[in-house]
Symmetry: C2
Subunit: 418 residues, 2 copies
Amino acid sequence: MPAIAAHDVTDRLAELARFTGRGAGVTRLVYDEAWCAAHRWLASEARAMGLAATADWAGNLYLHDPAVKPGHAAPPVLMVGSHLDSVKHGGRLDGAYGTIAGLLVAHASRGMAGLPVVGFVSSEEEGSRFHGGMMGARSMLGMVDERELDTVADREGITWRDALEDARARGCAAALPRAPFAPLFRPAIELELHIEQGPVLEAEGLALAIVDRIAGYRHWTAWIEGEARHAGTTPMRLRHDALAAAGEMILAAEHAAGEAGEPAVATVGFARPSPGLFNVVPGTCELWLECRHVRGDDLEALADAVTRRWREVAQRRGVRLGLEEGPGQPPTALSAALADAATDLAREMRLAHRRMASGAGHDTTVFAQAGVPTLMAFVPSRAGVSHSPDEATDDDHLVTGVQFLAALTRRLAEHTPR
Amino acid sequence: MPAIAAHDVTDRLAELARFTGRGAGVTRLVYDEAWCAAHRWLASEARAMGLAATADWAGNLYLHDPAVKPGHAAPPVLMVGSHLDSVKHGGRLDGAYGTIAGLLVAHASRGMAGLPVVGFVSSEEEGSRFHGGMMGARSMLGMVDERELDTVADREGITWRDALEDARARGCAAALPRAPFAPLFRPAIELELHIEQGPVLEAEGLALAIVDRIAGYRHWTAWIEGEARHAGTTPMRLRHDALAAAGEMILAAEHAAGEAGEPAVATVGFARPSPGLFNVVPGTCELWLECRHVRGDDLEALADAVTRRWREVAQRRGVRLGLEEGPGQPPTALSAALADAATDLAREMRLAHRRMASGAGHDTTVFAQAGVPTLMAFVPSRAGVSHSPDEATDDDHLVTGVQFLAALTRRLAEHTPR
């Protein structure tokens, strides 16, 4: 197995970061110009390294031994990679790091015994252009209904179908097959290397996390209705202030998550009081609440604790509370066996590591929910910053992460019967 | 003195409410079509009752015995009235009630011994078209600098000078005199009858408040700066959540006002967290704070208590807090002697009453700050609602208020040497 050198990782990450739209950081929305340029560059890099680069109809890219032919006759494979798209003005590592890792590991694994290794570059994960829900990973797994091509559209009304036509014109997607859309490869194992996007590894001085669970989340929009009154003439004791009630609810959510203990989190990310003037007691306030946890029953308990407290606050303050739940995502367990194997390897490699749950969703969520044995690994994020131009990870950590992934891939591929 | 009958009050209030712009409630912005129509109607009502109706250059209207000539030779007068303008979609009583009361009391007082009584209808008090700061009362008192005519403009860029030209064309303002702009009448006493705009009289089952102070206020815009982080990957203990800090500050303001005791009030009327998404811990939050109190040192103590607590919250949570103070208004004491006289009269008339401070500013604030002996009286507001189409007061209370004002005017006018 050829060694992966530091510059293999860092130089390619620097090159990939150059494919971006305008403004700070990296902006690569699926099928846009920067995304397509990055897609072509990754394919050419793979080909220069002797790999085949095959795009599917959705613009997912597979980097593989030319001897391993895609299609219904393809053998089960070990898939390793991440997504190519970014949020607007995001960082240079989120997704990108895993795709470069996939390329390098696929190259390093070529000709190995055991499962063939296929690097994957999923087309869409962030939801920053379409709100289709992990369209890339789902299309890799044959989990897309043809009707979605016309119902999923971006802010400007461009449908997924029309956007694909643009991507095909730029050489970044294959022709649309007949529905149902079958996968090009069948994953026996899926691995994804990612930056943590949180501060824990850095705070604990660790190099690596073995990620054995992905948190689920639930979202609510809350409507608080009190009484808009003149702020000068309404004594404190006679007020029904919707924003003061909101303040108490925000703190109650924070408190409930703290009481539940890690990895429970509860976040009020948005608040809009109305009428929003200096001299009027707010009559209404909208709040957005998110709860996350890594186990279904814990998520339910957290959600119950927060919403119960919110109702108590509303009752005590004489305001009305409406709670509308939006789409969520259940918690997802990754493969315990793969996590154990990875932990053994990390010990052998003397990497300072820990088990961790991912608070964020990833392509891997889709693979795991489809029944594929999956695992993720995280490297530290400086100051926990992600989805930001300031997203950064020390080079040492980036290189160690890829080397660990290569060794893990080799061990798993060799010990998994074809 | 002719008696004032119930229908004198209620019929005229109903008629005045018909002069309004589009939409719910009453919208009369100074010098607009509805305002001018109401102005002409009030003048014609006064003339029908045998009074003179004289407008000044700013569109203030004086309703007076034709024998009392305005101008520099006019005797000192007792002025009684309120403002004609409204907020957008306001109620039928705020200001309007005091102008009808002024008309009726001026009529009832005609020919009485003592100070001549002049009903006044101030052109602008609400700041709903221009942010000139009580332009009506200030122009009544000769407190306007000519330059303001060109610097004060509405949202559409129409200056006060141009708006006055429109009002003159509609017969609702006199020609602009040479600066400095001298008053038409010199008030020896000013009285204003108003709805409470708060819930206290109703809650206490009272008919009348003798208002001996007008609260001052201070305004701050606060900028809280924490750290915007992924809500899924950032543990509660490592967050610096600007909105959670804001929640604590909102409650701290409420608590500080409660501790200071009535009539202290503190209100956070506006909050804007950013970026405002479900899955991002808010990185910044803007808050608008208002503190009110009726005595200067108490207002300062309240403001100090709130801002000190806010700084403590910011320090404890590791967020930055910037506080920018905007224009405010100092508390204003009205005439203690007039308040005592009014209290004696309310007792004699067996009206259930109390002393009260006004939390809101009024035309009377300007008269008091100019050194004129002033007093206000309030009648109850149903449910404390004001600046709303739902603004309402029982007819009995409306009529009682005007009868009390007429009796008070008579007593004060007769006992004040000309």
